[in-house]
């Protein structure tokens, strides 16, 4: 188990390191000189050289990368070329909004998806299951930005019971949370259901029945417990979905979160901010994958052995 975790951590570190390098390259992949992105065109060559020196753009490429990386360990992500403030300060104010939005959505999704997925697998083909299957098909075809728009039209414009956009009160979060949850709920239910169905057909479920366990016990102690392995993975894997959802919904509902910051920075080519946000997302995703790997290892004794280099 220990060596399994160490291996996973090392791979994760390697991935983050590589991503950080690629993200850093973004600055040079852009058309034009990085200095031009930071300043107006009407600046004298002298001033230009001074700014380049201040920002460290006159140093060799790899040295710049090293400085950038070292800075990040001190939460110094550089300076926004647009707002001329520290990138970290920009992000610090916005992170809480995104965490609130994603956290609530993730929670809501799990609370809804797991019981529904389990129920639909057990009662496959009944009226409720068919309703869920068909509506998840429809929701899979609706892009989240349009779902958000529709919700605004219905609840904010027609019924006028919820605000259109903003971030001041909890009511402002209702529609964004529903948007994110609904747009990923269908696929989460579908995966949960598929997994439960697969476990239902396992031989050990027949054994559990054969020894005389009541149906309910079989379902909870054997089927649900074994499906949990995949469901936990799913829970962590859905975080990237949440982040994507947040980028779009924050835009639709005018929430000043990280997603909005990223979009805005891309539009105005504020590269240091884009780099920081991308890196943060990558770190978060890798951490989530790591957590899910470790948890699956704990939940499934077979993985513990096979991945730590044991038998099989």
């Amino acid at each position: 188990m220990k060596s399994y975790i160490i291996k996973k951590v090392l791979v994760g570190l390697l991935l983050i390191f590589t991503v950080s390098f690629l993200v850093f390259c973004l600055l040079y992949a852009m058309p034009g000189d990085p200095v031009d992105l930071a300043i107006d065109s009407k600046v004298s060559a002298e001033q230009r050289a001074r700014i380049a020196h201040e920002l460290g753009y006159d140093q060799p490429f790899l040295v710049q990368y090293k400085n950038w990386l070292v800075g990040i360990f001190h939460l110094n992500f550089g300076t926004s070329t647009r707002y001329h403030v520290k990138v970290w300060e920009l992000m610090r104010d916005r992170i809480p909004y995104s965490i609130r939005l994603c956290g609530i959505s993730l929670l809501l999704e799990m609370v809804l998806a797991l019981p529904i997925g389990l129920y639909c697998a057990i009662h496959k083909g009944n009226l409720f299951d068919r309703f869920v299957v068909n509506s998840s098909l429809v929701f899979a075809a609706i892009p989240s930005f349009w779902l958000g728009t529709l919700l605004i039209v219905i609840f904010a414009v027609r019924l006028q019971i919820l605000p259109i956009s903003g971030y001041e009160t909890p009511a402002h979060y209702v529609l964004p949370v529903i948007t994110i949850t609904l747009s990923s709920l269908g696929s989460t239910i579908r995966i949960t259901k598929a997994e439960v169905l697969e476990v239902l057909h396992e031989k050990f479920v027949t054994t559990a029945y054969a020894k005389g366990l009541p149906r309910r016990t079989v379902m909870f102690r054997h089927v649900l417990r074994n499906s949990l392995v995949v469901v936990v993975t799913l829970l962590f894997m859905s975080l990237p979905w949440m982040i994507t959802g947040a980028v779009i919904t924050e835009r639709v509902f005018g929430l000043p979160g990280m997603g909005a910051l990223l979009l805005n920075s891309i539009t105005v080519q504020d590269i240091p901010v884009v780099q920081a946000v991308l890196l943060l997302i990558a770190i978060l995703t890798v951490l989530c994958n790591l957590a899910s790997d470790i948890l699956t290892g704990i939940l499934d004794p077979r993985i513990r052995v096979s991945l730590s280099g044991g038998e099989n």
Binding site: T207, K211, G212, L213, R215, V305, N312
Partner: protein
């Protein structure tokens, strides 16, 4: 040649008791020692273009304390019969007709709650592949305890009983093994765990669905030994499902031979080995490797098991039968009793005076 000799022998026996005494004897048998009796059991699977007749009018009786072996090729429906007894088939696409009488009660009329009480407690079942049959995320001891706790909620006692059961099935280091996960055990050990699990509630009948197919030959012998011992010490009846005729000879008291969903021949193990009546059984016997035989090659049976979707009347073995006549392709042969519970479904074996058991 042997067949010709034996026929006249059994004929008078059958006709002699055809009237009263035979009927009385079997009526008495129902009360005393018949544990499980399948009457006209048919099972159809729904497939995309209709029904697939997996099991067709199967009759068989298992008595108390005997080992009854169901033999047949893979896909002949023997596993389906076994699963249907405890209602372990997926209910949606299966249609079951006929009676499953266990101690005189028809299990097929039981509701979900009632059948739960039968499972494990009165009829236990072990399966072909002991790896898939144990839940990979629980320790094997826990899985056995789970069964014991259904009868007695004392956890410490259950733990103790598990270890003693593991000793009973000769699991080495019983205490230690109870703490293992299924994947940490070998195939033979897993099957021992399965047997211990199913014995934990002391059922009267144990259904063993190809318990040794996935195991090594040496392990196979050990598992059979355990089963035999159980029969002797606990008096458990065993329904042993297998495709291995050699295994049957070693352990079974009586045999049922299945072909393409039909029970073609049943009878006492010595009777059938000495005097097989159905051409399929005969061919199976000839396919057995024997020490006495000096020929270089084993006999094989040509052709394939038919896939039966429609109920066209014919003998299902006709297309592979060496002695098939025109009649075999037009009519379904009835089960005929040749005496001593030796029942066979074949026109060839059927004598003019024999008694029809059922149409």
């Amino acid at each position: 040649m042997q067949e010709l000799k034996s026929k006249p022998e059994s004929k008078p026996a059958a006709s002699e008791y055809a009237t009263e005494p035979e009927g009385e004897a079997s009526a008495a048998g129902t009360k005393n020692d018949e544990l499980l009796k399948l009457e006209n059991l048919s099972i159809n699977y729904k497939v995309h273009d209709g029904y697939l007749s997996a099991v067709n009018h199967v009759n068989m009786t298992i008595r108390k304390g005997e080992i009854f072996a169901v033999v047949g090729e893979s896909g002949c429906g023997k596993s389906t019969v076994a699963h249907s007894i405890l209602r372990l088939l997926p209910d949606k696409d299966t249609k079951i007709t006929g009676k499953i009488l266990f101690k005189g009660q028809d299990l097929s009329t039981f509701n979900e709650k009632q059948i739960e009480k039968v499972r494990g407690r009165q009829i236990g079942m072990i399966f072909q592949n002991p790896l898939d049959s144990l839940n990979p995320v629980y320790r094997v001891g826990t899985q056995v305890e789970e069964a014991i706790l259904l009868d007695n909620p004392d956890k410490a006692a259950a733990k103790k009983k598990t270890v003693s059961l593991f000793r009973d099935v000769r699991l080495p280091d019983a205490e230690l093994r109870a703490e293992s996960y299924p994947h940490e055990l070998s195939g033979g050990m897993r099957q021992r765990v399965m047997i211990a699990m199913m014995l934990s509630r002391t059922p009267e009948l144990l259904i063993a669905d190809e318990p040794t197919t996935a195991l090594d030959v040496t392990i196979e012998a050990q598992i059979l030994d355990i089963l035999k011992r159980l029969k002797n010490t606990y008096g458990t009846s065993i329904m042993l499902i297998t495709h291995n005729f050699g295994l049957v000879a070693e352990i079974a008291d009586r045999i049922g031979v299945m072909y393409a969903g039909e029970m073609v021949e049943t009878g006492d193990v010595f009777e059938i080995f000495r005097n097989p009546r159905h051409p399929y059984t005969k061919l199976l016997m000839q396919a057995l490797p024997r020490r006495s035989k000096k020929e270089g090659r084993l006999k094989t049976i040509d052709g394939m098991v038919p896939r039966i979707t429609d109920d066209k009347p014919c003998c299902r073995f006709a297309n592979r039968c060496p002695s098939a006549s025109e009649r075999c392709f037009k009519e379904s042969p009835a089960a005929v009793d040749f005496g001593n519970g030796h029942i066979c479904r074949c026109f060839e074996a059927e004598g003019a005076e024999s008694v029809k058991v059922n149409g």
